[in-house]
């Protein structure tokens, strides 16, 4: 059942277009993450779903009802803000009860809802406190509790973890995942710029860039089959290496030749017209291995070595203006700066992008 559907939604401030023709179908019970660099429009999109920003064009449906002109409170959504947005002059209890009071719910009903949400989030003993007497993590839980109490169709989270320190962020991330598991029926939309949060929480991820949806899919699909160079480089850390190459053979398997003698037979289909064109060969740093043989992808001079123990990260001198290459090898490797080594990868782990940056897989 479709919970939320966006059709050709766009947003512009005067002349400036911040979102273009967004089309998304979100199923009930999904946890969708909007991810992208800052300024990509992800927060604006969320605020449009919440009703805090007017929709310039297209339609937004929640449970098959067009809600473009419906005020936030009547859309059946709840939102958790980056700054938590707790009402500083109200106790935790009153913070959670505020929306229900405004909706003229009965006292008993409010009390039951608040108590049960507090139970779930282990906030029962803090109900009488003011927000300023709580720690960051507790405030975060109150903000979540406040949205649970309203029993919305869609939960909206706007970078809810970005104000927490690293350790608390991991703990709260796990709590949110557990919360989602305990509420399999509810739909959640979650905005973040942090790809780890996106990968760990999402059932599907929307990658936004410059006002466009770059790819919409399951986390591992984005990792294994990125639709374009932007997604390829945005998901995964360090970012995917992109190497200029020329297509030498087409068909079910595509052969490419690198400038420095490297060569690869990639099991991705290509068209006859691709013959001789310049493409980008993508390979993730963690997929590279050192080889002594003649069948290699890359041969490059090591510029810097970062030995982290569990992994060794090698940075190679960039050749003729291309972006520099990175390899992430498991375990400890004693490789001196300045040595030239050869790297290779399993052909199934390679990606091909045409000159416009589109993946060969999605043509």
């Amino acid at each position: 059942m479709t919970s939320l559907s966006l059709k050709d939604v766009c947003k512009s401030y005067g002349e400036v277009e911040v979102l273009r023709d967004i089309n998304l179908e979100i199923e009930q019970g999904e946890l969708i993450v909007f991810v992208g660099p800052s300024g990509c429009g992800k927060s604006t999109l969320l605020r449009m779903i919440a009703g805090l920003e007017k929709i310039t064009g297209g339609t937004l449906e929640i449970d098959d009802v067009v809600v473009n002109d419906v005020p936030p409170a009547q859309r059946g959504i709840a939102m958790v803000f980056q700054s938590y947005a707790l009402y500083p002059h109200m106790t935790v209890y009153d913070n959670m009860a505020f929306a229900l009071k405004l909706a003229h719910k009965s006292k008993e009903e409010i009390d039951k809802a608040v108590k049960s949400a507090a139970e779930t989030l282990q906030l029962t003993q803090y109900l009488d406190r003011l927000p300023k007497a709580l720690s960051g993590g507790q405030r975060q839980r109150v903000a979540i509790g406040r949205s649970i109490v309203r029993d919305p169709k869609v939960f909206l989270f706007d970078e809810p973890l970005s104000n927490l320190d690293a350790a608390l962020r991991v703990a709260t991330r796990i709590e949110i995942a557990q919360l989602k598991e305990s509420m399999p029926e509810s739909t959640m939309i979650y905005v973040t710029h942090d790809q780890v949060e996106a990968m760990t929480l999402a059932t599907r991820i929307v990658v936004l860039h410059g006002g466009d949806v770059e790819q919409f899919g399951a986390p591992l699909e984005l990792y294994e089959r990125p639709a374009n160079t932007f997604v390829a480089q945005f998901i995964g850390s360090p970012a995917m290496n992109l190497i200029e190459a020329t297509v030498t053979a087409t068909g079910a398997t595509t052969s490419v030749q690198m400038g420095d003698g490297g060569h690869a037979d990639v099991p991705i289909a290509s068209l006859d017209s691709d013959q001789g064109t310049t493409v980008k060969l993508g390979v993730r740093p963690e997929d590279l291995t050192v080889t002594e043989g003649d069948d290699y992808l890359i041969s490059a001079e090591v510029e810097m070595v970062e030995a982290l123990g569990e992994t060794t990260v090698l940075y190679f001198k960039s050749r003729n203006g291309e972006s520099s290459l990175i390899a992430k090898l498991p375990g400890i490797h004693l490789i001196a700066k300045g040595t030239t080594i050869r790297l290779t990868a399993v052909p199934e782990k390679l990606h091909l992008f045409n000159s416009e940056g589109k993946s060969f897989l999605y043509r």
Partner: protein
């Protein structure tokens, strides 16, 4: 009768006034949401948007009404009145009122005194405020000291006038002086201490003042000569105006400097301070300075606190002494705030009425514009000239008004 008991009337007004305000806001919103554009039915979405377009005006209406009727309209009405004559049944008389006003020596006296007030009070208040703010910045009982110096802020101009009248009080020769100023004055006998207090110290202050005025004026005038400066047409008159004012100030200062050394000082005679021409203006200004220094201090103290500590620490490491740190590091960083304080006090000075009204009522050459205006309006019943003088005050305020609006608009962008 209700109106016989002012306390009851006041209470009723509070209840009725506040109740009416709240009732207006509540009911008008209710009307908008439930009757005019109900948020239900087929047009719910459109109605909500329409209601939200009207709502701001509901919230704004009472305040806008008050502002327009009580502040905006009077500006134009006063302008109109200043061009009419009440005795001729409000007939239009052109600039006759202004001509009549310009012909009065009392008006020019008020203008001269106002200029003195405008220069001395903001300058001295700001300087004292800055001094106190800096001195109290790092000491333990600084907050107590500041609070005591800030205290006159709460005292009415009238109360302050009584306080200072006591200070300036004069008794006949054979009685004990009960005004502290005369008591101190009679202690001075022409000895070395008196020369120091009455001749050397004022001379140093005057010379310092001349130097500051001259350097400020020079920085304005330089722009006319120097190349590469912004030579906008509107800046030239401003610069000439500043230069002219500065020359006048320097002339006044130097002539008083000469007066200090040549003039005979009447030692041993109790003085009636408020009747000494020219000097009495300064005795009145002291009252306002006493009140306004606290204001300047509070604002400047906050500004000083806002200076990044690192810049001061860097200056200490660079070898700056406390005076250099103050004048070369701190003051430049709070220049914007100093200007704000200065203009705010300037506005207060332009409106100053109570002090002069209560202490001298403009006698003995202490008239100022605001009191002159009150005189014309309510004693002479000459609404034409009174309005004309009000317009003069408005003209003096206008540059600050324009500057404030300009800044506010810039800030909002």
């Amino acid at each position: 009768m209700l109106s016989d008991n002012p306390a009851l009337l006041g209470l009723t007004t509070i209840v009725v006034g506040v109740g009416a305000c709240l009732g207006y806001f509540f009911l008008s919103n209710l009307f908008l949401d439930k009757v005019l554009f109900p948020a239900s039915g087929p047009n719910a979405g459109r109605n909500i948007n329409r209601a939200n377009m009207i709502r701001p005006w509901l919230f704004l209406f009472p305040a806008l009404f008050a502002l327009l009727l009580y502040l905006a309209y009077p500006v134009f009405e006063t302008l109109r009145l200043s061009l009419t004559d009440r005795d001729q049944g409000g007939a239009f008389v052109g600039l006759a009122n202004y001509q009549q006003m310009m012909a009065e020596p009392k008006f020019w006296e008020a203008v001269r005194n106002n200029m003195l007030w405008l220069i001395v009070v903001p300058a001295v208040s700001t300087a004292f405020g800055l001094l106190v703010a800096q001195l109290t910045d790092r000491i333990k009982w600084g907050n107590l000291a500041k609070s005591l110096i800030f205290m006159p802020m709460a005292i009415s101009f009238v109360g302050a006038s009584v306080i200072f009248k006591l200070i300036y009080d004069t008794r006949p020769e054979d009685q004990n002086q009960i005004g502290i100023l005369n008591a101190v004055w009679l202690k001075l006998d022409g000895g070395i201490g008196s020369v120091l207090m009455l001749q050397i110290l004022p001379s140093i202050l005057l010379i310092g003042f001349v130097v500051i005025v001259a350097s400020v004026a020079w920085s304005f005038v330089r722009g006319i000569i120097a190349k590469g400066e912004d030579k906008s047409a509107w800046l030239l008159p401003l610069r000439l105006l500043v230069a002219g004012g500065a020359l006048w100030l320097i002339w006044v200062s130097i002539s008083s400097l000469v007066g200090i050394w040549i003039g005979e000082i009447p030692y041993g005679e109790a003085q009636t301070w408020l009747t000494l021409p020219l000097w009495n203006n300064f005795f009145l200004m002291v009252v306002l300075i006493w009140i306004q220094t606290g204001f300047a201090m509070v604002i400047l103290s906050a500004a000083l606190r806002g200076i990044p500590e690192e810049t001061i620490e860097a200056a200490i490491i660079d070898g700056a002494n406390p005076f250099q740190i103050f004048f070369k590091i701190k003051v430049p960083q709070i220049m914007g705030t100093i200007v704000v304080v200065w203009t705010t006090i300037t506005l207060t000075v332009l409106k100053v009425f109570d002090i002069v009204f209560a202490m001298t009522n403009g006698q003995w050459e202490t008239q100022v514009l605001a009191n002159y205006m009150y005189d014309k309006l309510f004693r002479a019943n000459d609404w034409g000239v009174g309005s004309a003088s009000a317009i003069i005050i408005m003209l003096l305020v206008t540059p600050i008004l324009v500057w404030n609006v300009y800044n506010a608009r810039k800030e909002m962008k």
